[in-house]
Subunit: 241 residues, 2 copies
Amino acid sequence: MTPPPQAATRGHVLVVEDEPALRLLLERSLHQRGYQVSVAPDGKKALSFLETTRPDVALLDWMMPGLSGLELCRTIRQKPGLRDLPVLFLTARTEEQDVIAGLDNGADGYLTKPCSADRLDARLRALLRRTRPVQDIITFGPLTLEPENHQITRSGRPVMLGPTEYRLLELFMHNPRRVFSREDLLERLWGPNVHVEIRTIDVHIRRLRKALNGAGETDLIRTVRAAGYALDDGHASPAAG
Amino acid sequence: MTPPPQAATRGHVLVVEDEPALRLLLERSLHQRGYQVSVAPDGKKALSFLETTRPDVALLDWMMPGLSGLELCRTIRQKPGLRDLPVLFLTARTEEQDVIAGLDNGADGYLTKPCSADRLDARLRALLRRTRPVQDIITFGPLTLEPENHQITRSGRPVMLGPTEYRLLELFMHNPRRVFSREDLLERLWGPNVHVEIRTIDVHIRRLRKALNGAGETDLIRTVRAAGYALDDGHASPAAG
DNA sequence: ACGGAGATGTCATAAATATTTCATGTCCGT
DNA sequence: ACGGACATGAAATATTTATGACATCTCCGT
C-alpha cells in the first residue's frame, strides 16, 4: 500500500469577489475541500489583506467596482513581495476575449463562470503544484512539519493527521508554547462566523494528541485549564496542593 | 481619592448600541476583561466622540434608530483620520444576510447576537492583534510572567498555578507592591455580583504562596494586617501605616 | 447510483482539577 | 492574656477536560 494520500490542507486561497452570494459560495466550496480561504470584497481590501498575509494563490473576479481584477493583478505584480503570487481570474464567458489581455498582465490562468467546484479545484491544484513556494520546514522539539509535503514527523516517524488536526498543529508550530483559547482556535481554524460547539476543539485536540503521541512518548500538547491549549515540550509536575 | 485600579489595558473599544441593557452588558463584560471601554447610544453620539478620541476598534450595533450601523460605518470610512479604524458589527442572526453587504462597506467582521463574551473577546483580540503589539513579559524580582504562554517562573523554575491563582498573581504583577483588600480582589477576580466568602481569598493566597515559594525561598506575598495582601519582595521595610 | 473510507461535529459519561466552605490552630497588637 | 485577624488542612462541591461512541457528510472508485 502506498503511504499517506493525506487529504490535508491544500493551500491558502484569497478570493476577491464583489458579489456577496458568489463570494460566500466560493468560500464555502473551497473551505469544504480543505483549502484555507480568505475573502475580500474588493481590490482595495484585498491589497490591505496582502499587506499582512501571503496566501498561496489569489482568485480574482474580473469585473469589480473600484479596482478591477485586472488592475489588482497588475498592482500585485508590481509589489516586490507579491510578485510570485499565483493569480487566477474568474470571468464571465462574454468577457473571454478581454482575458487574453489579462494573461499578458501576469495572470496565471482564468476560469469562466459559472464553473463547477471540481473544475476550480482542479485548476487550483494544478496551479499550486506548480507554483507553491518552497516553505521552510518548521521544527519544534522532536516534531518536524514540512509544509511542502504536508508531512509531519515525530522523531523521524511519520505522523498521520486529518486536515483539521494538521492545521491545528500547523498553527501551534508557528506559535510554539503560545496558549490559544478555544475561541481563538475556532476563530483561526474555522473562521469568524462559523458556528461550531466550543467543545469540539477538545475532540480535535484529542485526535491530534493521539496521532502525535506514540506509546510512552511525552504529550506535546499542554492543557492550560480555563485558558486553552499550547504546544509545549516540557511539562513540569504540578506543584499546586 | 481612590487611586485608579490599573492593570494594562488590552485596547480601547468603542461600543455603539442603542439598547441600554445590552450596552451596559457589553461595557461591563469588556471592561471586566481588561478593555478600556467607551460607549455611545447612537451613531451621532459616536461620531462626535470620534471627533476627539480614537479608539482601537469600534463595535457597532447593526440596527439602530437614526444613523444605522451600516451608515455609521460608511461615514467612518469616509473620514480621513478614521479610515483605518477596525469596525465590527453586532447583528441579529436574522439580519445575517444583509451583513454581507456591510462587509462591502468597510466592516472588518461581524458577530451575531446573542454571542458569548468569550467569542466577542476572541474576535476583538484577533482584530487588535494587527494594530497592537504582543503582550510583554512582566517581571518582578525573581518572578516572570509570560501572558502569551500562560507561564510563570521563579528564578527560572516553572511555577504551576491553578486558574484563580494565576489571575491573582497576574493582578499582583501588574501592580507590584500595591496592597489589595480582600474586597478589591473579590471585585477584580470574581466580578461585581458574585457572592463568595471573603475568607476564601485567604485560601487562594495560601495556594499561591505554596506554589510560589519553594523550600527556603522568601515569601513574595506580603500580608498587610487588616488591609489585605500585596506582592512584595522580602526586603521591604515592615513599617506600616 | 452504491458502498466504503475518512473526516467532522456532538453527546453522554468518566476523570481530573479547582473552588468554597469549615473547623481549628496561630499570630499580633494592645 | 484577650480579641481579632490570619493561616491551614481537609472535606464537600462545582467546573473543566478527556474519552469513546455515533450520526452525518463528502469524497472516490466501481
